[in-house]
């Protein structure tokens, strides 16, 4: 496929690649021209279901959390609507998080070096001082974020159900749920901010993986070298 550029006039190359990418939308880890399909359509749809429902939950929830963000309630039609919508968006968020967990679980096996990401490795990575040569399709930070997201979704759901029907539950359970719902949302929101940053401004070329589903070969070679070698056949596939 790499000889597409030699066969087609300049200008039609991108168009031809687009067509090829669309054709490859149900495939993953395949090379199309100068790009590699990183996330197939289903992966992207699941991701955006989680993202949209979370943003909805966040905005409706922030309005309830503090009057400082009370203005967000007007985006949805008032605080009473938020109280109702937050719960249903929460169901949507949890359902899509479960789908996401099951969809990606097989690719998220923690390797030996991945646990180090909980510690200083993350900070070294942010300073671009890590040796990423053995990083596969997902690095340790991404895997840990995957599991903490799943755990957060579970915690938010369980405590959320108690908060949704407060009068059906015991007082102590209601109080614990309130505190846990707050703690989880604060930590999760902070990590989502980091996630959005790393997926956009911090690492250009990444966002495309969740829109058209593709990254450049160059990007893959730089951020996920082992995955690149696996995709190109230089190394045995492990994903």
């Amino acid at each position: 496929m790499s000889d597409l550029s030699t066969r087609l006039p300049v200008g039609q190359v991108q168009e031809a690649t687009d067509v090829a990418v669309v054709k490859a939308r149900h495939a993953e880890n395949v090379i199309v021209g100068e790009e590699i399909v990183r996330h197939r359509l289903l992966s992207r749809v699941i991701h955006w279901c989680v993202a949209v429902s979370f943003i909805g939950c966040l905005f409706t929830g922030l309005a309830i959390w503090t009057p400082v963000f009370g203005w967000m309630a007007y985006l949805f039609g008032g605080l009473a609507v938020c109280r109702w919508l937050h719960a249903w968006l929460g169901i949507f968020f949890f359902a899509s998080s479960v789908a996401m967990f099951l969809h990606w679980l097989g690719q998220m096996r923690m390797d030996k070096g991945d646990w180090a990401w909980i510690g200083p490795r993350l900070f070294l990575y942010m300073k671009a001082e890590t040796d990423d040569s053995q990083v596969g399709k997902y690095n340790g930070g991404q895997k840990i974020f995957f599991f903490t997201s799943a755990l957060s979704a579970l915690a938010l759901f369980l405590t959320g159900v108690v908060l949704w029907f407060p009068l059906s539950f015991d007082q102590t359970l209601r109080e614990i749920s309130w505190v846990l719902h707050d703690v989880t949302f604060i930590l999760f929101t902070a990590s989502i901010i980091g996630h959005i940053y790393l997926g956009t401004a911090s690492e250009p070329g990444t966002f495309g993986a969740m829109t058209r589903g593709v990254v450049s070969k160059k990007w893959a070679r730089f951020h996920h070298p082992r995955w690149y070698r696996e995709v190109t056949g230089e190394e045995k596939r492990r994903f």
Binding site: E175, I193, G194
Partner: protein, 296 residues
Amino acid sequence: MPSQHLEIRRSSASLRGGDTGIRQLRTVSKYIDTTTCIGCKACEVACQEWNDLKTQSTHQTGTYQTMPELAADYWNLIRFDEREYEGGVTWLMRKDQCMHCADPGCLAACPAPGAIVQYSNGIVDVNPDQCIGCGLCATGCPFDVPKFHEATGKMAKCTLCVDRVEVSLEPACIKACPTGCLQFGTKEDMRALGEHRVEQLKQNGFANAALYDPPGVRGTGVITVLAHGDHPEWYGLPRDPHVPWTVRFSKSFLRPLGFIAIFGTIAGVFGHFMRHGPKKPPDDTPATKPPPAARG
């Protein structure tokens, strides 16, 4: 229906109420003497009538109590219990309703601005216009008073007949009481009455008689004379009610911490971008990056 005449001292999810502090209203209180209550339920009927609450069938629970619990359309309930006392049995009847705490847990817990208010005379009221029916007030209440109304999706409770009090009438329950065990007036007057009655009870052999005005919620707008003041739980009253610490913890600790965490992370990523910029592949990225030491 919230009062149109009384100034609001405190309002939920707001820094403060809108009162000017110019008009000096005295804090009002109900006085309930459980020792002279005969359990006639006239107060229950008066409450239903004055507040236009639905007529309800009573529930036979095997006692002299009309309903098992307070409800969103049943704001006043004479609780009944019997206990063994000095070789005999004693009947305990206490009028249960909103206690109108000076430090209301419902107001502290409520996330909707202005949905729960405390007027400058101390009455705590739910404003259905603003209520979102989340039920957090019930979690904040140490007396389990606010109830969810299924049909309206709002919380409801005793208003201390604020619509009567603001025009200088006594609450409907007080008006209906035939024995005088219910009285209404300023908090000081009601306390004086209660302390006098407690002294009488002590002289009459109830050594543990006490006035229930719990300091944990900085006193209540409903003070109760108990013959067995050492056993408030016999009357269905918590021994030492407080606004749950988790409510304070969420509002006063977790919330500022959350602001710091969320805005701190936003500031952090901006700072990172300014310091390190985007992480781009070098123009000629080799398949394997050399270790950092080799990159100078």
